[in-house]
Symmetry: C2
Subunit: 241 residues, 2 copies
């Protein structure tokens, strides 16, 4: 990467998908500005993974924005915030339930994340935003679909000085039509250490501080099947039994 | 207002426009959930006005979200954040400069504000968002134009469970095609106390804590001319001289 590398904002949760996007954006020669959010998620341990992965892929900056206030406001409507009374579903039939948006949906999450990414990008003079949404092996969230991304990109280019003055924004979604196994194969080829990513919606923390994945939530199911289908050894630490 | 009043999220800065929108939404029978942001703006005193105005118009809730972190990230790109090195322009020729987006533009501000409003609205079961954007007597910000609002509304309805399940969101912009004088006349008829709103981009704080408007920034110019054109006495306290 040279000093002429174009700046980019990469949304980075510390999970499997966003870490793969980080690797792809770095390989594309972008000057990475990684952006993470603390919104009171059940799996805040993933933010530590995000910080290590950002360093590993040479990020110029890594910001963690505190969304705890908004997390409390949306807690009644999502199981993915630790203070919610809703439970993370386990062992759900993802194919049978494909038409249902599960309780792990977080209201307007990707809209809010992309709005932040857009604000930072414009201030940086960056024109590229990267996000690890995926519309195949996913939980049915509406804000992971290509039509949402296209609508947000259009909005971004109407909303901003950079958009109006013609140097518009591009939202890169390199995973959007990949199977989970293809995502894993791509990342593995780029050197992603998947053992240092967290996908589980509700991990247990082991005595040594390591997160142990439940193995049964939607996200664990998709991840587990992805490694199996890719023929790559799954480095995830699961709770015993 | 009855208990059956439909909930709504009203973006409320404590300025003239958003306080007028608050009055209009209350008069329309909505159960008001007011949303303000502390982003390190030069005119944070307006947040105190917002709190008083929310109480005055019977808001069920008023949340102030701390965006100071993002404020610091965008400070190099806007004069409207107190930590910026950029200066708020005074005595600008608004008609002559109509094609220019001024340095008081804040990157992606309304996108971010509406994203927050959307998240809270979905969690509340609200379908109505209210915002005081205006495309006539304004500073030329791209995110005050009707095409931006329409694009955001479309994005919101693709992004969310509520949108996908058919109970979509509406973004109300009752001021969008009004002159400033018409906004003032409308609010005055609804009992808005404009003396307790702040429009100035860089007010001085008097010894008694009252904000004194500069009278010369874009926002003061538009406000002052609005009162004059409406034939309503301007209750704004300006710096002497």
């Amino acid at each position: 990467m040279t000093d002429a590398a174009p700046p980019a904002v990469v949304l980075l949760s510390g999970g499997l998908d966003s870490t793969t996007v980080l690797a792809i954006a770095a390989a594309a020669g972008q000057a990475i500005h990684a952006l993470s959010f603390a919104y009171g998620q059940r799996h805040a341990v993933e933010l530590e993974c995000a910080a290590r992965q950002a360093r590993r892929f040479g990020a110029r900056a890594h910001e963690v924005v505190d969304l705890a206030h908004m997390g409390r406001l949306v807690a009644p409507a999502t199981a993915l915030v630790a203070s919610s009374h809703l439970e993370v579903p386990r062992g759900r039939d993802l194919e049978g339930d494909a038409a249902t948006i599960p309780v792990t949906y977080v209201p307007a999450r990707n809209t809010l994340f992309l709005a932040y990414a857009l604000a930072w990008a414009e201030a940086l003079g960056a024109r590229d935003l990267w996000i690890g949404v995926n519309a195949l092996d996913y939980s049915g969230y509406p804000d992971c679909r290509p039509e949402f991304i296209a609508a947000f990109e259009r909005t971004a280019n109407l909303a901003t000085r950079a958009g109006v003055e013609g140097r518009g924004f591009t939202i890169h979604t390199p995973l959007i039509d990949l199977r989970k196994s293809e995502i894993i194969a791509r990342g593995a080829a780029l050197g992603v250490e998947y053992g240092d990513t967290v996908s589980c919606y509700a991990p247990t923390i082991a005595g040594d501080g390591r997160p142990l994945a439940c193995g049964r939530c939607d996200s664990c199911q998709l991840r587990r099947e992805g490694f199996a289908a890719a023929g790559i050894a799954d480095p995830t630490a699961y709770v015993p039994g």
